[in-house]
């Protein structure tokens, strides 16, 4: 079983996880860590490690971060030497819902990360395009 962890700045990670659970119901093997603005990166890293250890059941953990180049992503890159993780940046709600509802059907972490990345990108729409498509 692959685990999923969300790591972001501010409170986004916890809030997006709660929102996802509100829609599809609570799930196991999903965790979040929000790095607050004045948190010490060393302390944050240790707390994230603790959650990763809980979520890794042997097949690794897909980590969804907010933005490439930001502290959450950088901390995860440093931890990727120690843990089996794939990191996908730019977490959004459709991406998370897709990840959480399909995590059970993947064994390969890299394949799963690729699929989740594609779904996250695919599910961004310019609404007027969708509405005009429907009117045709």
């Amino acid at each position: 079983m692959i685990g999923i962890m969300i790591v972001t700045h501010g409170s986004l990670a916890d809030e997006i996880m709660k929102t996802c659970f509100k829609i599809i119901g609570e799930r196991d093997n999903v965790g979040a860590y929000s790095i607050q603005w004045d948190d010490d990166p060393g302390v944050a890293t240790r707390k994230i490690e603790k959650i990763l250890r809980r979520l890794d059941k042997g097949d690794g953990v897909l980590v969804l971060t907010d933005m490439f180049g930001g502290t959450p992503t950088n901390i995860m890159i440093s931890l990727s030497k120690k843990f089996t993780v794939e990191i996908v940046t730019g977490v959004n709600l459709p991406m998370l819902i897709k990840a959480v509802t399909t995590m059970g059907s993947f064994n390969d972490l890299s394949d799963f990360a690729e699929k989740v990345k594609q779904q996250g990108q695919k599910n961004i729409y310019k609404v007027s395009d969708i509405l005009s498509m429907k009117r045709v």
Binding site: I23, I24, I130, L131, K134, R135
Partner: protein, 89 residues
């Protein structure tokens, strides 16, 4: 293959939580479930696909269900919609 037109009766239409309930119900059946509105067809077992239908209250959705348990699936979906997704309005 069964085909039935069902009208959404709950106040918020096919919003995120309602779509999740519909998809979770659909997943419990083996049959393939397609839902269509206007020119858009959604996979009834994918929440993101179902949400693309953008269906408010009063919308008539066409359900096409195909498979070994299509009768039960259609009955269960019809019941969920008639119960207004158990949203207690």
């Amino acid at each position: 293959m069964l085909e039935k037109k069902l009208k959404l009766l709950n106040k918020l239409g096919l919003h995120a939580r309602a779509a999740a309930k519909l998809v979770q119900l659909g997943e419990s059946f083996k049959s393939e479930i397609k839902i269509s509105k206007d020119n858009v067809e959604a996979n009834g077992k994918s929440i993101l696909s179902v949400l693309l239908l953008a269906a408010p209250v009063g919308t008539e959705l066409i359900f096409k269900i195909n498979g070994p348990d299509e009768q039960e699936a259609m009955a269960a979906i019809r019941s969920l919609i008639e119960r207004k997704f158990d949203e207690g309005e």
